[in-house]
Structure formats: structure tokens, C-alpha cells
């Protein structure tokens, strides 16, 4: 700003006031809201998750910085949005995911999911989810290899698959699992248990995260707290998480009524898997969601319904990622269809008469 303050006279058009909130501040506070989840997931899964978090964040920031430099633009990493993508990506990968694969996914998500579109504000889809979708397609086995939480020795040793050499497939971790896992660990997430064995998990376990799953999706409670913090600071549109969780809850209630033996309970639907993290931290990403209030309701409902449909009837046991990506893709159309009715618009019928 020093350049402009040197001018003898500054001529600006109104308004001369700004509210204090800036993009940089919003993004910074999203990072703050995710920190407790990070800490908890490191506590749960140990060093491997810490490594994932650090590597993904660094790689995302680095990718954005390098692409900015190569395209001859000033670097945009100080708006904190690349850090969000990095943290989110680390939180939605399995804890023992090989680091080299995480690096590739992060570069892909950042480059193809965000920077190729023009950077912050121009990307259609959430870059972290683009990275995860890439990982899901490219590294199917590591993406479905789960490890137990609270494993003994997690703060002193890495999960063996973490440091797989680049371009190598991780060796099976059955031997390690036998050492650390309590009896009966199946390596299946609550959602997989539900889908393939019709086995439900207690809601309390889902809330606090003493289950297996992606690093950050296991504690619904901390995710909710982070979301509430952002909503209270007006840095998130509350309509999006509310409509996603609400529609998923209602739809799964209907199915549960139809046949409780086959379909999971609505509470299970809400708290299991990535729905909570997706609803609170990914679908609510402002860039990929409609800017109108009505649009936000439609967008959220679409994601909630799609998630439940994919989970119950699709080939996958988890549907949040694709539901949000589809929601992101539909967002411009939803925006266009829900333009506000301007003040003083003359009703069409009256205008014709």
C-alpha cells in the first residue's frame, strides 16, 4: 500500500469503507477450524498421518507456487487456499497411504483440479476431491487398505506402507496388522461393514472416532465443532451442511422405515464415513457452490441425496466424494436457475395485461 500513499491526492470512487473480512482471513480460519481434526487424527493413527499432512500441504502449496511462477503470475499461495486443499486431501486419504502416491495425487488435484482453471475462484470442483478421485482410480488397492486406530507404537514407527519407494506398489501389511491389531480387526470401515455384512457400528464410536477410516473422517464431533466455529464467524454458508445432512438424514430415515434389516439407521448414515467432513469442509467450499441462498439449498440437497443413493445402491460403499464432485459440476447451472427476483420486478402476468 505504500505506493499509493505516496501520491499527493488519492481519487477513489465510493464506497470508501470495507468490512474487515478478506478472502485470506476466511481461508486462514478454515485452516484453524481443521487443526483440531488434524491433531486428533495424528493422535489416532500416529506418525504416518503426520507425514501425510505435512507432505500433502507442502506439495499443494509448492504446486500452486510453481505453476504461478511458470505462468508468469504473482504467487497466490499466501491466500491460504492451497493449504486447505493439502490438509483436506491428507484427511481423506487412508492413514497408511504411501507418501509417493499422496504426492502424485496432491500435484494432480492442485494442477488439474485448480490451477489449470485459473486458480482460486475459477476451479469448478474441489481440488482436494479431484486429487482423491484421481487416487481412487489410480491406486485402488492402497485406497481401500485400512489400518486400526490407536495402534500401539504409532508414535514411534510408521505404518509399513507409508514409505513405499516411489513407483512401487506397497507390500501387504498383514504381518504388521497381526502385531498391532486387536482380535477381529477386519480392515473394513464402518460403511464397508454395513454394506457387505449388514453390520452397524455404534453411533458413539462414530462420533468420537475410535473406528477406522480415512485419517480425518473418523471424528464427527470435531468436524461439527469446526463447522460451527466457521458458521459463527460467518465464514461458511450454514445452508450447505444443514441441507446435505438434513436431506441425507430424511432419505435414510425413509429407507430405514422400509426395511431396518437391510438399510442403515439415519444416525449411522450421518456419522459414518466422509459425509460429515464432506458436508462441513468440502461441499461448503464457496468456489464450487452456488452463490444464491436458494441455490445453496438445492445444491446441498442434491449432494445429500446422491450420497445416500450411491452408498445404498452403488458399487461403492462411500459416495460422498462423487456426490460433491457432481454437486460442484451442477453448481453453475443451479446458480443460473436460482437468480434472485430483483426488487421492483414487474410480474410477467401483470406486464402482459
Amino acid at each position: 500500500m505504500s505506493a499509493s500513499s505516496d501520491k499527493p491526492v488519492q481519487l477513489h470512487t465510493s464506497p470508501h469503507l470495507h468490512q474487515p473480512l478478506t478472502v485470506e482471513k476466511i481461508m486462514r480460519h478454515v485452516v484453524y477450524a481443521m487443526l483440531p481434526i488434524c491433531v486428533w487424527s495424528v493422535y489416532q493413527f500416529g506418525l504416518s498421518v503426520l507425514a501425510l499432512l505435512i507432505v500433502c500441504t507442502t506439495v499443494c502449496i509448492g504446486t500452486e507456487h510453481l505453476i504461478c511462477r511458470w505462468s508468469g503470475k504473482p504467487s497466490t499461495v499466501n491466500d491460504w487456499s492451497a493449504a486447505i486443499t493439502g490438509i483436506l486431501l491428507a484427511l481423506i486419504l487412508p492413514p497408511g497411504f504411501p507418501i509417493w502416491m499422496a504426492v502424485v495425487s496432491a500435484v494432480f488435484g492442485m494442477a488439474v483440479g485448480k490451477m489449470f482453471w485459473g486458480g482460486l475462484g475459477f476451479n469448478v470442483m474441489n481440488p482436494a476431491l479431484v486429487g482423491r478421485a484421481f487416487a481412487q482410480a489410480a491406486f485402488t488397492v492402497p485406497m481401500t487398505t485400512w489400518v486400526p486406530s490407536m495402534a500401539p507404537g504409532r508414535f514411534t514407527q510408521f505404518i509399513p506402507s507409508t514409505w513405499t519407494p516411489p513407483l512401487m506398489v506397497p507390500r501387504p501389511i498383514t504381518q504388521w496388522l497381526e502385531q498391532v491389531a486387536v482380535d477381529g480387526f477386519t480392515g473394513a470401515t464402518p460403511l464397508a461393514l454395513m454394506k457387505y455384512n449388514q453390520e452397524s457400528t455404534e453411533t458413539l464410536a462414530l462420533l468420537t472416532g475410535t473406528i477406522t477410516g480415512s485419517a480425518g473422517e473418523t471424528s464427527a464431533l470435531l468436524i461439527l465443532l469446526g463447522g460451527l466455529y466457521l458458521i459463527a464467524r460467518k465464514m461458511m454458508d450454514w445452508r450447505i451442511p444443514v441441507s446435505i445432512l438434513g436431506s441425507a438424514f430424511i432419505l435414510s430415515t425413509i429407507f430405514y422405515w422400509v426395511d431396518p434389516a437391510v438399510y442403515p439407521s439415519p444416525l449411522f448414515t450421518l456419522f459414518a464415513g466422509g459425509l460429515m467432513l464432506g458436508a462441513v469442509f468440502m461441499a461448503s467450499d464457496m468456489v464450487g457452490s452456488p452463490e444464491t441462498a436458494k441455490g445453496a439449498w438445492i445444491y446441498g440437497t442434491l449432494i445429500g441425496v446422491l450420497t445416500v443413493i450411491i452408498r445404498l445402491f452403488g458399487g461403492l460403499n462411500e459416495g460422498v466424494m462423487y456426490a460433491i464432485l457432481l454437486g460442484n459440476a451442477a453448481s453453475p447451472l443451479i446458480s443460473k436457475m436460482t437468480q434472485p427476483r430483483k426488487y421492483g420486478a414487474i410480474k410477467k402476468r401483470e406486464a402482459k395485461a
Binding site: V9, T13, G121, A293, P340, K342, G344
Partner: protein, 452 residues
């Protein structure tokens, strides 16, 4: 009325959307209006209003007395101009203005030691005037919208013949932060305001008058209530403080729950909307057959030693006012009008005009806070959509403006934007949205003119 009740239940007696910027009225809210001395020379712009400039009827060297007409209206869409002080016309020449472009002005050398007494005009019985005569009398006062738009008042009082006006709304919201002129006028001179309201009602044939103000000026509402006519034809309504409540369309919604159709006058829904300062002047000047020669200006902000509400002669240069009030800096960042819709001025020689209700003086250290911040790309947060009182989509408009698709912006109702600045205020990316829209409107005007 049922619709009134419904309205206050649904909207809490206000309009939808809008913003709550820091009010900062404490600098001057309790400062009574005081008269400001005459400067050695007045610069009287011939175009202080919307419409055709006034035609000078004086020559250099001519002596004039305070209150005497010095320029006449050039047609219906124009108003005359009166001498604010006794003195000698020095020259008619170009002068700098608040908006920027230089316009012709009458330079009046004030006679030293001139009294403040107005020697021109004579009392008259306005009760005997017909509505048409009142409207003519108002044009003769040179009155324009003193709230800032400076639209000739007599034109506003002459709606198309097919419109019937049933309610006069008096705008005492003063929703701009910092400004307190309307507040002080309501508080100190409620009689003139009510008299003005009654004159407006009679001239426009409206049986009802509603004086609207915001709940941060309750003392003003109480002062007016004490002098209201016994027949109940004029009432006061206090609405929740919100910006831009003082906009004609928002006020109509807030006070009587009516929506003025896009592109129409308030009279199309039976309303006439006038500002408090304008109405006060009608009540003061009309019975005395005088013209507008001075106005109340709030000089405020942390950069001035003696902030206050001053009755300033029109044509007083900024430099004279600021030096007397303890500001000795340059015109680096001075705002005439309020911070939301006012203009930064390029020179301290800019004179006070009929439409100027405030001068905002920041300290040097505040300037960086006022100056445009770093702009980020639009992140689609929708805060502008939620702020726009006209229910437009500033985000979509802004993206089109950046791509210079000016004509496509018309489909997004660009022309309904009245430039209140709410979108720019809330934008976390600091995108100069309303500034884009001003340019876009101008581009569309040019495109339209080129097509002809």
C-alpha cells in the same frame, strides 16, 4: 391497513438485505447546528443540481445582496440560484467540482463585515396558494434534493397525471455513516419539517404524511412527535437502522411496504419521497419567498479538530471550512458526502453545493485503511448477493464486467443498480464491484448512443 401489518410482521418494518457498516455518528450527533462565517469569496456553481445548468443574470462588477437571485432556471428541468452573501460579482469562470469535471461558476466577492440577515423576500400566506402555485414557488426557491441526489424538487412534485399520490414519505433515515445533518435538523427544527411536510401533502394532494427515521435517532422522532398536527395526518415511524434505508426504494418498502416497480417513479405506487433537509427548507423558505442559500454540512472524521454540524453558505470552498476547523493537510483523501456514496475530491478549492451534506476527513494513518485493498478473484461466497438491496447478483455482474461483456450485464438487471455500494463493502475479495458497474453503465450508454 392489513398490508402494513403484514409488512411489519414479515420484514420487521424494514427492507430486505442491506448492510450494517459502523455508524460513527458519535463525532457530531450531539453537536448543535452552528452558523459558519462567510469566506472572502464564494464559488457558486451554475450546475449544482441534476438537469440543465442555471443561466446567470448578473454581470461581473455587479453588487448583489444576500438572498437575491443571481441565476435563473433554464427551463423546467432546472432551478435558479441565489446569492448566499452580500457582495460583488468578480467573474463568471470555470471551477472545480466534487465530481471532478470543471463547470462554470459565479465568483462572488463577499463584502467584509456583511451581516447574516437576509434582505430579500417577503412573508406570504401559503395557505392561499394552489398546488400549481406551490410547485412554481418551490422552483423559485431553487430547491433540489438536499440528501445528495440534487434532483430538482419541483420536478419530483409533478408526477405524471395518471398517478395519484396518497402518501408523502419524508426520508429522515440518514443511513450514511458519519453524517448527522438530518438528525440535527429533525431534533432542532421539527416545526419547519412538519410545515414542509404539510405543504408537500397539499401540493401533491396526499392525505397522509409519514416521517421515517431509524432507531439510532429516537430523540429526533420524539422531538417531531411533540409538534405533529392534531388531526393525525402526519405520523412518525422509526425503523431498524440499516444501510441503505435512505434510498427511495428501500424507504418505500420499510415505511409502507410498497415496492416501486423497476424503472418507475414512486408516484406509480402512490408515493412522493422527500428528504428531511429538503422538507425543512420548504417549510422555512416558502412562507418567506426566499431561495436556498445555505445548508447544514456535517464536517466530521478523526482528522478534523472541531467536528460538528455547520450551517454553511453555498459556494464556501473546502479549504476555508477545513482550515477553520483545524485541518491543515492536503486534499490527499477527502470525502464529500458520506463514506458509502460520497466522492473523493481533487482540490481544496471545491465549493459546497446544494447536494453536499458532509465532509469526511480521515487522519493520514487512516488513509491506507480507506484505500482499495488487494483484490482476490471472486470465490462465489454470495455475500454480495445477500447484501444487494435490489436483489441483483453482483457476483455474476462483476464477472461479466471483467470480461467486458457489458451488454450481457443488462440481462442481469445492471440498470436497476443504484450504486449504494453494499456489494463492494461486503466483498471479501475486495472486488470493486459497484465501481465496475458505474463503468459498465457508462459503456452501455455509449453503445446505445453509437447504435443510434
Amino acid at each position: 391497513m392489513l398490508s402494513d401489518l403484514q409488512h411489519s410482521l414479515l420484514n420487521g418494518g424494514s427492507f430486505a438485505h442491506g448492510i450494517h457498516p459502523p455508524e460513527n455518528k458519535h463525532y457530531t450527533a450531539d453537536k448543535p447546528i452552528t452558523r459558519f462565517p462567510f469566506p472572502p469569496e464564494l464559488t457558486l456553481l451554475l450546475s449544482q443540481h441534476f438537469g440543465k445548468p442555471s443561466k446567470p443574470i448578473v454581470r461581473p462588477g455587479q453588487e448583489v445582496v444576500r438572498g437575491e437571485p443571481i441565476a435563473e432556471a433554464d427551463g423546467f428541468m432546472s432551478v435558479p440560484l441565489h446569492a448566499p452573501a452580500t457582495g460583488v460579482i468578480r467573474k463568471i469562470d470555470w471551477a472545480p467540482t466534487q465530481k471532478g469535471p470543471r463547470v462554470p461558476a459565479i465568483y462572488l466577492k463577499v463584502t467584509p463585515g456583511d451581516s447574516q440577515e437576509i434582505l430579500y423576500g417577503a412573508p406570504r400566506e401559503i395557505e392561499h396558494l394552489s398546488p400549481k402555485e406551490i410547485i412554481q414557488a418551490i422552483q423559485d426557491t431553487g430547491l433540489v434534493g438536499l440528501g445528495g441526489a440534487a434532483f430538482p424538487t419541483h420536478v419530483k412534485m409533478s408526477p405524471p397525471p395518471e398517478h395519484t399520490v396518497d402518501t408523502i414519505l419524508i426520508n429522515g433515515c440518514e443511513c450514511e455513516p458519519y453524517l448527522t445533518t438530518d438528525h440535527r435538523l429533525m431534533l432542532e427544527q421539527p416545526e419547519a419539517l412538519v410545515r414542509g411536510t404539510q405543504i408537500l401533502m397539499r401540493a401533491m394532494g396526499a392525505p397522509r404524511g409519514v416521517i421515517g427515521t431509524e432507531d439510532n435517532k429516537r430523540d429526533a422522532a420524539e422531538a417531531i412527535e411533540r409538534v405533529l398536527p392534531k388531526d393525525g395526518s402526519v405520523t412518525v415511524k422509526v425503523v431498524p437502522t440499516k444501510y441503505p434505508q435512505g434510498a427511495e426504494k428501500m424507504l418505500a418498502k420499510a415505511l409502507v411496504g410498497r415496492e416501486i416497480p423497476s424503472g418507475q417513479y414512486p408516484s406509480s405506487v402512490g408515493l412522493g419521497v422527500f428528504n428531511v433537509a429538503t422538507t425543512n427548507q420548504i417549510g422555512t423558505l416558502l412562507p418567506m419567498q426566499r431561495g436556498v442559500i445555505e445548508r447544514v454540512v456535517t464536517v466530521t472524521g478523526p482528522g478534523v479538530d472541531k467536528p460538528g454540524n455547520y450551517l454553511v453558505a453555498l459556494g464556501t470552498p473546502l479549504r476555508f471550512i477545513l482550515q477553520r476547523l483545524g485541518y491543515h493537510g492536503s486534499a490527499k483523501y477527502l470525502i464529500m458526502g458520506g463514506p458509502m456514496m460520497g466522492d473523493t475530491v481533487s482540490s481544496l478549492d471545491v465549493p459546497i453545493t446544494k447536494g453536499c451534506g458532509g465532509i469526511l476527513v480521515p487522519r493520514p494513518e487512516d488513509i491506507d485503511k480507506l484505500a482499495p485493498r488487494r483484490t482476490y478473484p471472486c470465490i462465489n461466497c454470495g455475500k454480495c448477493v445477500e447484501a444487494c438491496p435490489m436483489f441483483l447478483n453482483p457476483a455474476a455482474l462483476g464477472k461479466l464486467a471483467v470480461k467486458r461483456q457489458y451488454e450481457d450485464m443488462l440481462d442481469y438487471n445492471l440498470l436497476d443498480c443504484f450504486e449504494c455500494g453494499c456489494c463492494s463493502y461486503v466483498c471479501p475479495s475486495s472486488i470493486p464491484l459497484v465501481q465496475y458497474f458505474r463503468v459498465s453503465k457508462a459503456m452501455n450508454r455509449e453503445l446505445k448512443a453509437a447504435a443510434k
